[in-house]
Every structure is written in C-alpha cells, then in structure tokens.
C-alpha cells in the first residue's frame, strides 16, 4: 500500500534519521516498500516504478526538491502523495500540518486526504512550493495577471503555488540617507518596493530571457505562462482535531 522514496543521505546523521523514520513507520504498522534515490536510479524512475506497481500511496521522504518532483509525476493520477518532510520548507510543513517526522508519519497512518490545486509553468513544470525569477540588476518586465497588465522593473519575482505573485525591486529600497532619517525618527521605512498580486493566470515577459528556478533548479526561461491545475493532486494532511469547549468541561 505504501511506497516510500527516500532522498539520498548526504551524511551519517541523515542516514540515522532515515533509519529512525523507517523504525517509526514499522512501529505504526505502515511500513512498505522503501527505495532510495541514487545515481543509478533517479527520482523520476523510482516514482514511475511506484506508479507501475499501482501503489495507492507514494510517500516522498526528504526536502522540497524531492517532494516537488514526486508531486509533478503523481499529479493527475489516482495515487495519493504522502510527505515526510526532512529539511523541507515552511510552505510544505504548513500544507501537510507536520513539522517533524513523527507527526508526518502519524498523518500517514490516519490518511486524511485533501485535493490540492497545483501551479504549473506551461507546459508541464508543476510545483508545490514556489517558482523564482532572479535578476542581477533591475530588469524591465511586462506581466499579465488576469485582467491586469503590469509594467515594472524587478530584481526578484516569486510565484507561490496558489498563484500569489510577489515582485521585488531592490533598487527602489530608498537612499541610505532616507533610511537613516527614518530610523532616527523611530519610523519604519515603508516597503513600497514590493508588490503582491493574486491571479488565476500569470504571464511574464522580460526584455532579456531570464531563467526561472524551482528549488534552485532552472526549469524554464522567460517568457513564461503560469496557471493552476484544479484539484490535481491528492495529498495526505493532518487530521482534524477535536477541541474541548467550555460547555463540554461542565
């Protein structure tokens, strides 16, 4: 029923942690087939093997890179994605409601699932975390987001999995003199160099082609089009908790 894909351990402490995770899964009674990413077998190959064997749940045990890749391959199928985060980002931890491996394993045992929308860079680069575009200097760009057209300069653009777009222009940070004056007067320097917008479809065009990164891996270059695939992925999340109210205590 469960197929576990472990990230390749980089040192002995990671290896020990992976052993602890396997032991805990056995303790909970949800041990299954475990495979580890290696130079001989990539994440893509291992995930495809799990799909070919028709496992109902494929569990990614590792960081954002592994989780994103497994999610990309599972999306659109009936297979459920489980996650045991090891060194993963806050975004992932929040999505599954688990900040440590024990809680994540317990979530797997209870199997409460949720259908997630998944963002993707056309045609097929899916991501659960965020996509980033980083420029060395202020770069002009034209962005179409639903009914809006935006022209601005940016040094960094981040697109989250729910298609929240953040545009940062560090060159608009304000002069050192202005910042010092604000600091002396006890005022916060207003953060007017950040834009936050939400949409259902985003297109980004830049004058020069700029690489687009997902977890520090280049997946595309501008111009790009980012959309959401609705209910693309079934994922195991934390179960609902019942809280006692004052009336129940009486």
């Amino acid at each position: 029923m469960y197929y576990y894909i472990f990230e390749s351990a980089k040192n002995s402490s990671q290896k020990n942690l992976q052993e602890k995770i396997k032991d805990y899964l056995g303790f909970l009674g949800i041990a299954g087939e475990t495979v580890t990413v290696s130079p001989a077998r990539s994440v893509e190959e291992l995930t495809q093997m799990g799909l070919d064997k028709k496992y109902s749940t494929i569990v990614a045990v590792g960081g954002d890179v592994l989780i994103n890749k497994v999610a990309s391959l599972i999306q659109g199928t009936e297979t459920v994605l489980g996650i045991i985060p090891v060194g993963a980002s806050e975004l992932i931890n929040k999505k599954i409601g688990a900040y440590d491996y024990k809680t994540a394993c317990e979530n797997l045992r209870y199997r409460r699932t949720r259908l997630l929308d998944l963002a993707f860079i056309e045609p097929n680069k899916y991501f659960l975390t965020s996509a980033n575009i980083i420029a060395n200097k202020a770069t002009p760009c034209h962005i179409e987001i639903d009914d809006c057209n935006i022209n601005t300069n940016f040094t960094q653009i981040a697109i989250s999995s729910n298609l929240t777009l953040m545009i940062l222009d560090e060159t608009q940070d304000g002069s050192f003199f202005a910042k010092t004056l604000n600091w002396l007067a006890g005022r916060e320097t207003p953060q007017s160099n950040i834009s936050i917008l939400k949409g259902k479809k985003i297109k980004i065009h830049t004058t020069d082609s700029v690489p687009v990164l997902i977890n520090d891996e280049v997946v595309a270059k501008t111009p790009i089009s980012v959309r959401t695939k609705f209910r693309a992925l079934k994922i195991i999340v934390e179960r609902d908790k019942i809280e006692k109210t004052k009336n129940q205590n009486k």
Binding site: N162, N193, F230
Partner: protein, 147 residues
C-alpha cells in the same frame, strides 16, 4: 462542485511604487497602492492610496484612505478619509467623511445614510462607471458641493 471563480483568500494586494498597472484591481482583502493604476480598484475591505500613488479610475471599498492622487469616483460605504497629501478629482460617496487640512478635493459629495448604504454597495459597480464618464466630459474644476 468546486467553484473556479471563488476568490483567492490570503493577504491583500499591494501595488509597488514603480509599478504601472492597467486594468481592474479586485480583492476581497485590503488593497494598498503605491504606484500607478489606470483602471478600477475594488475591495471588500480597505483601500489605501499611498502618497506616491496615482489612480485614474473609480475606487470602491468599505473604507478608503487617500494620501495620493485619485482621478475618478470614490465609493466608500463606511469611511472615506482624504489625508493632507491627498488629491481627489471626482465624486465621492461615503457614510463617514474626513477631509484633512491641506487635502484637495474637486467634485460632488454624497453622504450615505443607513437606508441607502446597502444599496450603494450593490450599485457601486453600476454607479462608478457612468460617474467617471461624466467627469471626463466636464472639463472645469468646481468647488465641492454637498447634496
């Protein structure tokens, strides 16, 4: 059945200082504008037009605070505040109006009462567009008039 038109929850919308935006800016949460917007600004909560901002088009929200420049109708079904750096050219409609010393306002003002407050929210979209057109046709600046 999942509704693809359901608004996306989360933090509000912010338009940065060096951004030029054309089109309709809509959010169920707060909207803050530091840059330039050519189009409608619509929020279910609060809209802040910052000192560096310039909006050409109608603004509609529960509470609206103007510290920059607005060229268009403003509909605030609770509170409208024009700060000392604010400049408004267009009609305004609100329940609670506060224009600070130093602010500039050219246009008509209508105060909302409890009886017409609810309908003003619904009529916001309809009223704002025809108002904006009529303002464009009138070329002269006038003193503000209270109905």
């Amino acid at each position: 059945m999942f509704d693809k038109n359901k608004p996306i929850p989360g933090p509000g919308t912010v338009v940065g200082a060096n951004v030029k935006l054309t089109g309709t800016l809509k959010d169920i949460n707060d909207i803050t504008v530091h840059g330039s917007v050519d189009g409608e600004v619509i929020s279910d909560k609060n809209v802040l037009i910052a000192e560096t901002a310039s909006v050409k088009g109608p603004v509609s929200a529960q509470n609206v605070t103007i510290a920059g420049k607005v060229d268009g109708a403003i509909n605030a079904w609770q509170k409208l505040e024009i700060l000392s750096t604010g400049k408004v050219h267009g009609s305004i409609m609100s329940k609670d109006l506060n224009i600070r010393s130093g602010a500039a306002f050219n246009g008509k003002s209508k105060m909302l009462t409890e009886t017409n407050e609810e309908t003003s929210k619904e009529k916001a979209a309809k009223d704002i567009k025809p108002e904006a057109k009529s303002l464009d046709e009138k070329a002269e600046k006038t003193k503000y008039e209270l109905d």
